[in-house]
């Protein structure tokens, strides 16, 4: 009898404690409606408190660049908080300089909206839109790279600068319960305003690239936000040095086609680095451009060619190839897109050749 009474008492006590925890959780985590003031009243948003600043802004169609989808691994989603929203978190520290910290810069994915906030963002972000699209074509380019063509459904047109990128939203698949968004450069030409094309390499274990490569089908609808980025043609430079590897070909293709279409007075050299022949793609496409346009030169190079490749083109690391073909930096600009390692190595080589940092352009993601 005593045992039964004890068990019953403990059960009742546990139930009461659980109810208290649930009530406290509801009360403490209910921040109600919060106001986000952007750029001193330029926009004022009412959002439900409790979510990240990044997702709260996105829910109101204000899209902040984010290549990692809010996991604090890209450092792109910086905003300036006019009033403090707490200390910089350890997750943000690698991306926030001392200067930025003093100016109130935070990663918006790491700031939780708990009360009214005043923030500052670049004006151009107000022009970012979310697009509903239909996949009109999926084309394999190499063993791990595919090209995706999207028809814009709503809105039906997009204005972007060649070289910019969009953030594509994945959908849940298999055991992946969440949708994520990731940044991919546009490879098509801006004059085709009803479509965009993306060139995407499969990242083993990558949530979004696995979705795009293995689950997305022609005819499916997906959304993206954009355009983002400062990687576009800048003033100056009679000769443009384009250097890419892997799916980094995407924005370079867009830039080259745009320049040729607009008949701009620029010479262009496009260096594309790959390990083996199977990693090359769009070779015929660029060879054809080379034949048709005197101001365009295409220089693919292999760093690990084997006899089976029967390769008679440039060999070696792309940095060595660039060093052989680019004598100096006079009236030249360099546009880079590829892995962080490739970009770092290229920046070093270009600096040695004489390029100033203001003549070298690349995306930070």
């Amino acid at each position: 009898m005593t045992v039964l009474f004890t068990v019953l008492s403990l059960s009742v006590l546990a139930t009461i404690l659980a109810a208290i925890v649930v009530l406290a959780d509801n009360r403490l985590n209910n921040y109600g409606i919060c106001t986000i003031d952007i750029n001193d009243g330029a926009r004022s948003l009412q959002v439900n408190g409790g979510s990240s600043l990044l997702s709260s802004l996105a829910s109101q169609k204000v899209f902040i660049p984010s290549a990692c989808g809010g996991k604090a691994t890209c450092g792109l989603c910086k905003v300036t908080l006019v009033e403090s929203a707490g200390p910089v978190l350890p997750t943000e520290e690698p991306y926030i300089s001392e200067e930025e910290r003093e100016a109130g810069v935070r990663l918006s994915c790491q700031v939780k909206v708990k009360h009214d906030l005043k923030i500052r963002i670049p004006e151009e972000l107000f022009n970012i839109k979310q697009y509903r699209t239909r996949v009109s074509e999926i084309k394999p380019l190499t063993h791990d790279i595919k090209q995706f063509r999207f028809e814009l459904l709503e809105p039906q047109t997009i204005d972007f600068k060649a070289g910019q990128y969009v953030q594509v939203d994945s959908k849940p698949y298999d055991k992946v319960k969440e949708s994520v968004s990731r940044a991919y450069s546009i490879s098509s030409v801006p004059s085709d305003r009803n479509h965009i094309e993306l060139i995407i390499r499969l990242v083993p274990g990558g949530i979004c690239t696995t979705f795009l490569h293995q689950h997305l089908k022609e005819g499916d609808e997906i959304t993206f936000a954009g355009p983002f980025g400062q990687f576009y043609l800048h003033e100056g430079g009679d000769e443009l040095i384009f250097i890419a590897g892997g799916s980094g070909l995407a924005p370079i293709r867009s830039l080259v086609l745009d320049i040729l279409e607009k008949n701009l007075d620029k010479k262009m050299k496009f260096f594309f680095g790959a390990v083996r022949k199977r990693d090359l793609y769009y070779v015929d496409f660029f060879r054809d451009l080379e034949k048709r346009y005197e101001n365009f030169q295409y220089i693919p190079a292999l760093s690990g060619a084997t006899p089976e490749d029967e390769w008679d083109g440039e060999e070696g690391l792309i940095t060595d190839v660039v060093a052989r073909h680019v004598p100096d930096a006079v009236n030249r600009q360099a546009y880079l897109c590829g892995s962080p390692g490739m970009i770092n190595a290229c920046v070093q080589v270009l600096t040695k050749i004489g390029f100033g940092r203001d003549a070298i352009f690349f995306d930070e993601f």
Binding site: C68, K175, V176, K177, V203, P204, S303
Partner: protein, 152 residues
């Protein structure tokens, strides 16, 4: 092996696919605690520690990073690094993140190959975690020891 609530939470997070498409555990139905414990048991007869394995992996990754393109290391190991943009967070919630880049080492004497991501080095060194069976970067500790010729 008994699994505490912290490890259970981490396992749930891995299986949800919130951090990586392959969920780190592949098709493995064992608990996270069991996976780590059983890999520890596989390691002990070899006289090696997780740090021994991770140090050797880091050695090859560093070699490949310093010398882009396929590189021969110590005369017999063909090392290749596949760089990918972006980072991935450690699923053990320790605020560590690694790049998504991948290192592949082939022991040309045996023809055996092992492949790992930068995050695997941290997962092994700090958490003794080699991923679950069926996960794309799962490699048995003994296989690492054999292919990379790790000796005490």
């Amino acid at each position: 092996m008994k699994q505490g609530p912290d490890l259970k939470r981490i396992e749930d997070n891995m299986r949800s696919g919130a951090l990586a498409g392959h969920q780190f555990l592949g098709t493995d139905t064992r608990t996270l605690a069991d996976i780590i414990h059983q890999d520890q048991l596989l390691l002990e007869p070899l006289g090696l520690t997780h740090h021994n394995i991770a140090e050797r992996m880091r050695y090859f990754t560093d070699q490949a990073t310093e010398h882009p393109g396929p590189v021969f290391v110590d005369g017999k190991f063909r090392v290749e690094r596949e760089e990918h943009k972006g980072g991935i967070l450690c699923p053990f919630a320790d605020n560590v993140q690694a790049s998504k880049s991948i290192t592949q080492v082939t022991n040309t004497e045996t023809g055996e190959t092992v492949t790992w991501s930068d995050l695997n080095i941290h997962l092994i060194a700090e958490h003794g975690f080699y991923e679950g069976h069926g996960a794309p970067f799962r490699v048995d500790p003994a296989k690492y020891a054999e292919v990379l010729e790790i000796k005490v």
